[in-house]
C-alpha cells in the first residue's frame, strides 16, 4: 500500500516536472515581451508594451506576417487536396509500385530539412523562384503533404467501404458518394491534417531561411534574423502573440468537438 502511494507520488512529480520543462520557455518569453529595456532582458526591470507597438509599426514585421499567412493558407489548401487524394490512392488503390509511391509521398518527413532546403535552393535560384510566394508554397506543400496523408489515410483505413457501396446502390455516382458520404465521415481527420499543414508552413524556418531575402520574408525568418542580427525584444512580443493564436486554434478545435458531441446528445 505504502509503496503504491510512493510510486504514484513519484509519477506525479515526474509528470509535473516534464510539463514545467515543456512550458518553461513561455515563462521566459511572456515577461520579456513586456520588458521596457532595449535588450532581451530577464527578469525585466520595468514593464511596457513598447515592443508590441514596435511590431505593429514596423512594416517589415507586418509584411512578414502577411506573407506567412498568405503562404500558410495556400499550403493548407494545396496539401489538403493533394494529401487527401494521395491517401485515397495509397489506401484504396490496387497497382504495382504502391510501396514506392507511399515511400516517396512520405519522404519529406524523413529527409532532413537542411538537405531539402539546399537542393531546392539550388534549383529555385536558377528558376527565379526564391523570394517568391510560389516558391515558398511549393516547398512548404511538399513538407506538409505527409501530415495530411498520415491523418487522412488513418481515417480511410477505419472507414467502412460498404457505406460507399450503399451510397452507390442508392443512386449516388462516385463523385457524389465521395462528397456526401466519404468526405463527411473523414472530415475530422482532414481538418486535423489541415491544421498540421498550416502550422508546418507557418512554423517553417529551415527551408524558408534559404528562400527568403530582402524582397520576401516570412515571420519565422524575420524572428530568426531579429535574434541573430540585432537582439530585438520585438521577437518576444511576436512569440507571445503567436502563442495566443496557436492556443486559440487548438481551443476552437476542441470547442467544435465539444459542441458536436453536445448536439448529438441533444438529438437522443
Amino acid at each position: 500500500m505504502n509503496t503504491k502511494l510512493l510510486c504514484r507520488g513519484a509519477l506525479v512529480l515526474l509528470a509535473v516536472l516534464t510539463a514545467l520543462y515543456l512550458v518553461a520557455p513561455v515563462f521566459f518569453v511572456i515577461p520579456t515581451s513586456f520588458n521596457d529595456s532595449s535588450f532581451l532582458e530577464f527578469p525585466p526591470k520595468a514593464f511596457s508594451t513598447r515592443w508590441y507597438e514596435a511590431y505593429f509599426q514596423d512594416p517589415a514585421w507586418i509584411n512578414a506576417t502577411l506573407n506567412s499567412l498568405q503562404i500558410g493558407v495556400w499550403v493548407t489548401i494545396l496539401s489538403v487536396v493533394l494529401g487527401t487524394a494521395a491517401a485515397l490512392a495509397m489506401v484504396r488503390g490496387r497497382y504495382p509500385v504502391k510501396a514506392l509511391v507511399s515511400g516517396l509521398v512520405l519522404a519529406p518527413v524523413l529527409v532532413p530539412y537542411v538537405i531539402i532546403a539546399l537542393a531546392v535552393y539550388a534549383v529555385f535560384l536558377e528558376m527565379g523562384l526564391t523570394q517568391s510566394v510560389l516558391g515558398f508554397v511549393l516547398v512548404h506543400t511538399a513538407l506538409a503533404v505527409p501530415f495530411v496523408v498520415i491523418n487522412v489515410s488513418a481515417a480511410l483505413v477505419s472507414f467502412d467501404e460498404r457505406l460507399e457501396m450503399a451510397a452507390m446502390s442508392l443512386g449516388a455516382n462516385r463523385v457524389t458518394t465521395f462528397l456526401k458520404v466519404t468526405l463527411p465521415c473523414i472530415a475530422p481527420s482532414v481538418a486535423a491534417g489541415a491544421l498540421f499543414a498550416f502550422i508546418t508552413s507557418f512554423d517553417e524556418v529551415v527551408t524558408s531561411v534559404f528562400l527568403a531575402g530582402p524582397d520576401l520574408s516570412t515571420l519565422p525568418v524575420q524572428m530568426w534574423s531579429g535574434v541573430r542580427v540585432q537582439i530585438d525584444p520585438t521577437v518576444a512580443a511576436v512569440s507571445t502573440m503567436l502563442l495566443l493564436v496557436t492556443l486559440a486554434l487548438f481551443a476552437s478545435a476542441g470547442l467544435v468537438r465539444l459542441f458536436r458531441a453536445r448536439r448529438l446528445a441533444e438529438a437522443a
Binding site: D160, R162, L163, M165, A166, A167, M168, S169, L170, G171, A172, N173, R174, T176, T177, K180, V181, P184, C185, L264, A267, A268
Partner: protein
Amino acid sequence: MSQNPSTTSTLAGTGVSIDIRNVVKTYKTMTAVDDVSLTIEPGEFLTLLGSSGSGKSTLLNIIAGFIDADSGSIEVGGKDLTKVPPYRRDLGMVFQHYALFPHMSVWDNVAFPLKRRGVAKAQVAERVQRALDVVELGHLGKRRPAQLSGGQQQRVALARAIVFQPQALLMDEPLGALDKRLREQLQLEIKRLHRELGTTFVFVTHDQEEALAMSDRIAVMRDGALVQVGTPVELYERPASRYTAEFLGESNIFTGRTHGVDDGSALVVRPEHVRLSAAGAELPSGHNALDGVVREVVYLGSGLRVEVALPDGRHLITRSEVRGALTPSPGLPVAAHWHPEHALVVRDDTAA
C-alpha cells in the same frame, strides 16, 4: 410495421425479372461463381442459400454491380445491365451491417436516394415519412443511426432501400448480425413487405431455416455453382442430391450398393418419417426396418429427437411424439422403420 395497407401500396414497385446468364467470376486461385444461369421471376422472393464461400454473396454483388463478372450477363426487366455502374442500376440493397450513413440523421439517410434522383422537396418529405412509417420508425427520424438498436438500424436500411421504389431489392445476409428473436421478427416483416410491395426480392443467407421460412424459391449454391433451384417444399421433399438433402433440414443418409452396384447414389430418409417400435414387435407391412439401440433422447418441447445406434456403428435420427406408443430411453433395443415412399434415392455429390 404499419397496418395501413395504403401506406405500403403507394411505395409498391413493379416486380421485374432478373436474368442471370452464364455468369463466371474467378479470383486468382478459386472460382467464386461457376457458370451460373438463373431466371428470377417478376415479384419473386428468391433466396441464394449456401455456406460461406459458396459464391452467393459474390453473385449478389455481381447483380448489384459492385463486382464485375469475367463473363456472362445480368438482365433486369429485360435490360442488359452488365456494363451499367451500380448507381444507375436502380436496385435497392440491404447489407448485413446496415451501412447507414453515420453522419446523417435517420431522416436524411432515407431521403438520400430521393435527393439523388432530384425528387421535389415536398415529395421527399412525404415519401420519407411513409417509408419510415412502414418500418414503424416514423417517430425516430431525427435520431442518428448510432442511437438506434441493431434491429431499428436494419429497419432504417430497409426503408432507405425501398423508398425510391427500386426495380428489385437485394439483401446480403441482412439478419446475420441480429439475435434469434429479432431475426425471426424481422423475417416476418420482410416477408410482409415483399407481399405488400410486389417487388422482386433477392435474399442471401447461409441459414437454411431462414431460407425455408421466407422464400418463394431457393437456389442452393455450392463452390460457386448452383446445386438445385426450387420451392422450399420441392427442395425439402425432393432434394436432387445428397448435398441439398443434408443442407436443408436433417437427413438420414444411406450410401453403398443399390442392387449390388455402387452407382454413386444415396438414400435419404427424413427423421420425421422414421418411426420407432420395440425390438421384435410387428411392423407395418411393407416398411423398411433397421434394428438398433437408442443412444440418446433429446426433449425438444414439441417432440423428441432420438438417436439410434446401428450395429455397424453409424447412427440414425428420428423425431417422435413425446407421448407415443413407445417411450424411448437410452439402451432400449428398437426397430427403426419407414415406408419406402419416404426413402428418396438421390445423387451422392458429397464424395471427394
